[in-house]
């Protein structure tokens, strides 16, 4: 039940994330609104894995197995990159925030930082998915077996 719930949220996040990462295809307004929409599932993802977060960040590295140490560092990097991409995205918003009556300054520095952090996030998410590849494959195989 819990795994199924996580799986559904992860699929929603991945679909939204891929859409958000292709502003040339979706257009800037949709890119910004979808980015704001993505915050909800991301926060939920973090909350649903909060026990793991507390578990790995309250223990010293020596007490953790190597794969968990790697996951901890990688997830921290992902979190930092996502925060930077989100904050800089808000700072350079041209559609969503002006629509809400909040006007932003179009600083090239924030634009550059947004592009760099967003591109890095893509690669880091790729490895994040790879780390959980066995779980993903098991989830994909699971429902198919039940149907057959």
């Amino acid at each position: 039940m819990k795994a199924q719930r996580n799986w559904q949220l992860d699929i929603l996040q991945l679909v939204l994330f891929v859409l958000v990462c292709a502003p040339l295809a979706t257009g800037l307004p949709l890119h910004e609104w979808l980015s704001l929409l993505l915050v909800g599932p991301l926060v939920l993802h973090l909350l649903w894995h909060w026990n793991w977060v507390v578990g790995v960040f309250t223990r010293s590295s020596r007490k953790l197995p190597s794969p968990t140490q790697f996951s901890r560092a990688w997830n921290l990097l992902l979190f930092i990159l996502m925060v930077v991409a989100s904050v800089t995205g808000v700072l350079i918003s041209q559609a969503a925030l002006p629509f809400l009556g909040i006007h932003t300054a179009q600083d090239p520095f924030w634009k550059l930082l947004h592009q760099v952090s967003a591109n890095l996030t893509l690669a880091v998410v790729g490895v994040h998915l790879a780390v959980h590849w066995r779980w993903i494959v098991n989830r994909l195989r699971g429902p198919a077996r039940k149907v057959m």
């Binding site: 891929v18 295809a25 591109n119 893509l122 690669a123 880091v124 790729g126 790879a130």
Partner: protein, 91 residues
């Protein structure tokens, strides 16, 4: 015939995807390589794509930029596991 290790297959897949990514030239570094290789080719590729291509290319770029590091990670992980198992077998 010996079976190809899973890590080799995955790393090969990563290399192929990287090659595809280079050919598509959707990343700045790929464009740099293309410009160095052939200025004429680079100029033709910098023109804005239209229609379905304009819709598909950004998604292709996103998926491939995620896929390459992911495949490399899986390949390296398999490689490390294989080497560990071999070491255990030898000792």
């Amino acid at each position: 015939m010996n079976r190809l290790p899973a890590s080799a297959v995955v790393l090969l897949a990563a290399a192929l995807v990287t090659l595809l990514l280079l050919l598509l030239g959707q990343t700045p570094w790929a464009q740099g390589i293309r410009e160095a290789a052939s200025p004429a080719l680079a100029n033709s590729a910098t023109k804005d794509p239209h229609g379905v291509t304009a819709l598909i290319l950004p998604f292709a770029k996103v998926l491939m930029v995620m896929l390459v590091p992911g495949l490399i990670a899986i390949g390296l992980s398999n490689l490390v596991n294989t080497l560990r198992q071999q070491n255990r077998g030898n000792s």
